[in-house]
Symmetry: C2
Subunit: 161 residues, 2 copies
DNA sequence: GGAGTATACTTGCTTTTGCAAGCATCTATC
DNA sequence: GATAGATGCTTGCAAAAGCAAGTATACTCC
């Protein structure tokens, strides 16, 4: 965005910074792919579909607005709209008009959707443990969570390093 | 893959594990998007195009086989093939037949490609520092790199947690 | 209470990418 | 040295997702 002009010198990464960044860059590509593959193998849903189902299952009355789903997942509304469509065609969710706002729509988790989650949730959890959490043993998880949680935050990272 | 059947009980994540995973899951979605946006704003190339250009610039004679590029980037050969096509259309790389193997093709970085990198590299570096590395201050970077570097490795993570 | 604007969602279009099939070339075996 | 299979790359096709334009409903100010 409004950073400086892009050609001035920037200190390159030091050795240990370089290694940390390379490891992370690789993880950014590989982890989503592996989790997606595991989930697909276990129950035939994509990560975004799973995300919608889980969020609905945790919501009061198992229902949420489209925009709420989009916000939580950092996905566009159009993506959510299509994912909910796809889930509705398979009977895993139903669409309903929002009673308090006629412009709004709700996605409602069906019993079939909940049943599918009973397979998908443990499968995904096992996958996350095996591919990710397992490797964090010995680290200070609170410190890790705080650091990673600050990545790409609008407020914090505009300032100079 | 060949894991157990997916319905057996799995211990849910503990509080600090949960927070670490949520932070990471968000980063997995948001970081690539932000870096991509910065890079595009700075010089109009995508991350995968940038990745190809950087790897070529570091290679002997500024040239690499398609398959070598694909391996390094954990991308499919078809994706690389198209990206190199796109770069070639813009004059940033050239294609050449591999002299030692008539089946193979090389992507060769042009002077124009190198010039573009002189803008793209510092822009990307600044972006990585601002959005990611900046937030790792205070952590043991070697330990972080080793842990993250083990994520989604085929060998390690088949075993039980 | 009506006109104009804002909001919620949907849909058409485009881009990116993986998979699978196809083609060219190389290698091994006879 | 000819034939069979393996390998390297390209290309057709389909899925996923963002942007922008369209539609329907709500809100605001007169």
């Amino acid at each position: 965005m409004g950073q400086s002009n892009g050609t001035e010198a920037v200190r390159p990464l030091r050795g240990e910074e370089e290694r940390a960044w390379r490891a992370l860059a690789r993880a950014l590509v590989v982890v989503p792919r592996v989790l997606e593959a595991d989930l697909h193998a276990a129950c035939g849903v994509t990560m975004t579909e799973y995300f919608v189902l889980v969020n609905l299952s945790e919501a009061p009355e198992r229902r949420l607005r489209m925009s709420e789903l989009a916000d939580r997942g950092a996905m566009s509304l159009s993506a959510i709209s299509r994912v909910v469509d796809a889930l509705a065609r398979r009977g895993l969710v139903e669409r309903a008009r929002c009673p308090s706002d006629g412009r709004g729509f709700l996605a409602v988790l069906t019993d079939a959707g909940l049943t599918l989650l009973e397979v998908a949730y443990p499968a995904h959890l096992r996958s996350v443990r095996a591919h990710v959490m397992r490797h964090l043993q010995g680290l200070d998880l609170e410190q890790f969570a705080q650091a990673v949680g600050r990545f790409a935050r609008f407020d914090e990272d505009a300032a100079r390093p």
